[in-house]
Every structure is written in structure tokens, then in C-alpha cells.
Symmetry: C2
Subunit: 377 residues, 2 copies
């Protein structure tokens, strides 16, 4: 089940409400990534507190560990990871593609050796749908091939991008058939591919729209292409998707990318950046990014961002304390930094929604840009 209500628009930007089997998601939304059934370093209740309404899981990883037998026992991912709000799972396509030389792609699917135990495995559109049915995720992504931007320094040609996109379309059809056969009560999203070629993106989009899926994603961005190429695809594809269905931009990106994505008509985002950067001492704030390992923070008694309401800032953990924890390799450093960064992303989307509700998205966007460019004190 999925229903999507479009509440307001401003230019391409949209304010919406997504109703899924496990709850309601206000859009635009940022979805924290929980690869192995855990958003790294963060308690589920911290996610609830910061206002996260939907998180991701990774089919590829969860297939390998703990495996479908365990997840079947728990009747899905929700109870296994003690998260009762909506979950979106990717199809595993991006992860097997990322294995590089370790995998072999054919019409049937992708053969690869398990990075965990070396087992020879075959992931197909049908297997991906079967695993995602076991996961019982609210949003199921089609199995696709992610078209690379380049391979060994050589740009992907239009012919290569076409072949890849066409394969993803044939896989989309197989996903739809298997999803229906499994009587999965959740929602299947298609993924627009086509590399950096607008005409291929349009062909992919048209074919997927003809399948009348409940939502669509833009894939194959943030795969190593230059920023202006990514922005070109973002400006091209999202707003062409059906207006009455949710639009998801996969794997993007910085706070600036998210705000741009909203302006381009995107409703849903996910990215590992807030959690990964947190573990490396890279913190996001309203007034630009803060590099915790910089010696200037050694005696800095201020919170990361005095205007931030996350547990880390509100409970008066100081920059000096976080700097110290990081320097000592203490777990509390990535724990607090992950809460802060995820809260920043989740809250940024809350502010975007408030601006859209008030009909003031462009005013918000200009202020956001000024604040971020001001830089940290």
C-alpha cells in the first residue's frame, strides 16, 4: 500500500505526504541509511527523537547477514531491528555493481562471490523481489544495473548506457511480475537510468511510467561523475516524473545537493554522508561544516551549533569534549556525531517542509545558502 498526497508546490519543489503500511512520511524527506539493519552508531529511539520517519535497509547486505531464514522468523526487518516506522530497501543492484571485477552481469542477473564467505551467489530481479518480500519493507526498489560514469578512465558511451538502461527496463518488468506473484502488499518503485544522456533518461522514464508503478527513483547519479554532470541530471529528470507519485533521488548527497534536489522536484533522499562523515569527524551545521579534528576545537566550550536542538548540542556536549573523545578513539565520539549529523539532515528537510508550507521556499533557500556560506565561528 502506498498513497501520495501532493500538498503544495513552488516551481518544481513539492510538499507531500506519503502513506505507507507502517506509517506516514512527510515529504520532502531524508531517509537515514541502515545497511545491515542498523543506522550505524545510532539507537532506533534516537532516530525517532530526531524525527526520522523512514529508514533504509540494504537487501544485498541483509541477504548475506543475517540471511533470509532469520528474517523470515522475525516476519521481516521491522521487528528484527526494532523499528516500527516505514522502511525502504534497495534491491541490491547498486551493491553487486559496486563489487566491480568480483561480479559478472548477464541477462539473467548478477553472479558474484559473497564477500563474507566466498559462496557463489546469483542475484536476479526475482531473487531481489523474494528477499524484499521477506524483509517486508514498505518500499521495494526494482533490481537494476547502475550505469557507470566511466570505466578505467574511459567515459561510458551512449551505446553502453543504452544497453545498460534497456537491461534495467527488462529487469523492471521481471520485478513487477515477481512482486505481483508474491502478492507483496507493499509498494514497488522503478528506477530511471540512462547515464548522463538526457534522451536515454527520457526513454527510461517513459517506459517505466508506462508500467504505472507507485513511485519512481532517479538512479545512476552520485557514481563518480563531476558535480555539474550530477546537477544536470537532477535538473533534467525528476520534474518529468509523474506529478502525483513520489520521486526519490538515490544516494544524494550534501545539504546543498538536497536543497537543490527539492528545487528540482525530488521528494525523497538517502545518503550515507551524515553517518560516514560523523565517524570521520566531519560535522554538518547550519553555518557550514566543522572539522572536529582541527586543533582549534581543543578548548572550545561551545556546542557544535548553538542553534541546533539535537541531543548532542542540547545536552551541552562541547566541541572540546567531542574533539577529546575523537582523539582518544572513544565510541561516544561517533555516537554523538552521528546523532548530530543525522539530526541536521532530518531537520533540514523539516525546515524545507515548513518553508514550502509557508510558500517561502525561495526565501528559505537564499537564507540557507547565506548561512552555510558564512562558515563556522
Amino acid at each position: 500500500m502506498l498513497s501520495f498526497q501532493l500538498l503544495a508546490t513552488q516551481g518544481h519543489a513539492r510538499r507531500g505526504r506519503l502513506t505507507l503500511n507502517h506509517g506516514v512520511v512527510e515529504t520532502p524527506v531524508f531517509m537515514p541509511v541502515g545497511t545491515y539493519g542498523t543506522v550505524k552508531g545510532v539507537m532506533p529511539r534516537s532516530l525517532v527523537e530526531m524525527g526520522a520517519e523512514i529508514i533504509l535497509g540494504n537487501t544485498f547486505h541483509l541477504w548475506l547477514r543475517p540471511g533470509v531464514e532469520v528474517l523470515k522468523q522475525f516476519r521481516g526487518l521491522h521487528r528484527f531491528e526494532a523499528w516500527d516506522k516505514p522502511i525502504l530497501t534497495d534491491s541490491g543492484g547498486f551493491q553487486v555493481w559496486s563489487l566491480g571485477a568480483m561480479r559478472k552481469i548477464s541477462e539473467e542477473g548478477v553472479k558474484f562471490a559473497s564477500p563474507v564467505n566466498g559462496d557463489k551467489l546469483l542475484l536476479t530481479p526475482e531473487v531481489s523481489m523474494q528477499i524484499q518480500s521477506v524483509l517486508n519493507s514498505d518500499i521495494v526498489m526494482q533490481f537494476d544495473e547502475c550505469t557507470p560514469y566511466e570505466s578505467k578512465g574511459v567515459l561510458t558511451t551512449e551505446a553502453e548506457a543504452y544497453a545498460s538502461m534497456a537491461l534495467s527496463l527488462r529487469w523492471a518488468e521481471r520485478c513487477r511480475t515477481e512482486f505481483a506473484r508474491l502478492e507483496n502488499p507493499n509498494a514497488l518503485f522503478g528506477i530511471v537510468q540512462g547515464g548522463m544522456f538526457e534522451n536515454l533518461r527520457e526513454a527510461s522514464l517513459d517506459a517505466l511510467v508506462a508500467m504505472d508503478l507507485p513511485g519512481y527513483a532517479v538512479g545512476g547519479v552520485s557514481v563518480g561523475e563531476p558535480k555539474d554532470e550530477m546537477l544536470r541530471v537532477m535538473a533534467h529528470t525528476p520534474h518529468r516524473l509523474p506529478a502525483h507519485k513520489p520521486r526519490y533521488l538515490m544516494g544524494v548527497g550534501t545539504p546543498e545537493d538536497l536543497v537543490q534536489g527539492v528545487a528540482d522536484g525530488v521528494d525523497m533522499f538517502d545518503c550515507v554522508m551524515p553517518t560516514r562523515n560523523a565517524r570521520n569527524g566531519h560535522l554538518f551545521t547550519r553555518f557550514g561544516d566543522l572539522r572536529l579534528r582541527n586543533a582549534r576545537y581543543r578548548q572550545d566550550q561551545r556546542p557544535l551549533d548553538p542553534t541546533c536542538t539535537c541531543h548532542c548540542c542540547a545536552a551541552f556536549f562541547s566541541r572540546a569534549y567531542l574533539h577529546h573523545l575523537d582523539r582518544c578513539g572513544e565510541m561516544l565520539a561517533p555516537m554523538l556525531a552521528s546523532v548530530h549529523n543525522l539530526h541536521y539532515y532530518v531537520n533540514l528537510m523539516r525546515e524545507v517542509r515548513q518553508a514550502l508550507d509557508a510558500g517561502a521556499f525561495e526565501v528559505f533557500r537564499a537564507q540557507f545558502k547565506r548561512d552555510r556560506e558564512r562558515g563556522i565561528d
Copy 2:
């Protein structure tokens, strides 16, 4: 400031209330260890939730990182680590002693090279008092020499144990003088040494009691001696300490050790075991210990302990989920396991206090033993 109220006794076991500058501590009490200004892997608010009333900090570690200059800026450890309840700091004696060949002990103090940056450092009774004054910990431990149980396989002789104990007494006097000179408003504890020799323990105790300090610790146990030797010292020393002052058994131990310690007249305990074992998948429960890495837990949907009220058990994180997180090296495994283990220790002392309040400590102790020996389902 320290006041200690003895509320009830049963045999040597005592129920008490300790009032310190930052709050009240009900005894017997377990004190989580926060070496570098953080109880490893646990948010301060989780400590509050589980009912921890006092935590430890380590003078040695905090001297090296972040250093006294930073801690001075924060006017002590409490604000630095965002913990407003009582703190006890050890003197650094045990840590420099643990450096082994890396340090040189003289009448003046202990010379050693910083394990962080190689700097040549000298820790003396006076320096320890000065650092602990900066930390502003509610309970300050005297600087002492921990008498080893053996050295290179040779047991410490009585003459060696005597010399070591006598040095600790001279250092106790110097600590008392410096503590007074610094006008430290907190409470200084003396540490009984004497190795495995009852007569030396008694001499140490008598000399320290003559100094009329506000509290006393038993040190030099849990330093590699056989269990029966430790139990012998525990049975000998604590109940001989002044009845109207708090008694602290340093660095001990298992849940069974703690209950035995209470029976021996101890009021305060600390140990790294709950947090360290948590990180190694060793979990404490009412019905014995659980080794999370055992394959039998791969599909076990039950919480660690159905009778436990910690966040990990109450929020229905299952053994299978924790097993999975541990196997994947996910941070949430040690985070949840640390909350569970610390809650177990803190709650065990709460149950001990309730039993003492009800005049039923021996009944409790027998039930505790039966439950723990029953073993995990």
C-alpha cells in the same frame, strides 16, 4: 563535603547513604568506570536512566588527554563530560603501576614516559592531588603504590609488601597535606594496602584510620591473585574499617564478587568488567552469563533476559539481532550490550539495597546464587 549515614546492617552487610557535593548516592553502589571522561559506548543519559548515581574518572588518563588546561577551562570534569552527579577519581597510582617496565618508582613519586607522546612525566602525591582538584571530583583517591601479587612468577615477599605499604602510607600523608593546602572542598579517601598479608593490611588500616579520612578503600586486590586469595582479603579487611565511614573495594569484580563484597561489609564497587565484557559479547543476566557469539543465538528471538528492564531488553532487541550486529562489527552491538551489562550491575546493587531495607539480605543472596547457577535458557 561528604556525609555517610548508616541506615541498616545485617551481619557485616550495610545499607547506607552517601551525600557528596554533587548529590546523594545510595549504598551499596556500583560505579561505572569512565576512564577518559566517558563510560565507554554509553550516553550519560543512559547512565541516568539505569539509575547510576556516581561514575569514575581516571586521573592518569585525563592528565594526558585532554590535559589539565582544558579541564580547568571547564572548571572540572563534570561539565566537560556533561555529567552533573557525583564522580570519583582514582589517583593514577594503579595506572602508572600498570605501565610495568615503563616506569620508575621512588620516594618522590613515579617517573614514566607518556604512552601518548613519550613525554617524560613525574606523578607524585602532590601532582595527583593537584590534578584531582582541577577535576573537582566528589571523591579523591590518595596516590598509592599498588602492591603486586607476583613479579615475573615470583610471589611478593612480606618484606616487599611491607615496604610498598609503608610507602603508600607516607604518600597518604603527603596527599592529605596537599589536599588541605589546595582547600579542595571534596572528600579524600585513603587506600589500605599490604598485599596478601593480614598483619600488613591491619597495620595499613590502623595508620590510615589514625589520619581520620572521610572514607577508605581496599586496594591491591584483583591484581592477578587467585580467587581464594582475593576472597581472603575481602573477608579480612572491609569490616575492620570504621563503621561510620564509606568503604570502597577497588576494581572488583564479577556479580558474585559484588554480592560477596556486600556480605563482607563493602559499600562501593567499581569494575570495567560490565563494559569490557559487553564489547566482547559477554553478557550478564540474572540467570547466568550469555556468550552472544555462540551460534545458538542466531535465530533466538528472545531478549537477553526477559526479566530485565534495561533499554536493550525492554525495547525488544533480540539475542538474534545482537548476535547479528556483533557479527557484522556494527557499533550498536557494544552500545546495547554495554547498556545491558551496566544496567545489570547497577540493578543488582539496587536489589541488594532493597533486600537490606527489608532485612532479607541472606534470603536475597541465596536466591541470587540459585538464579545465577541455573544458567541461561
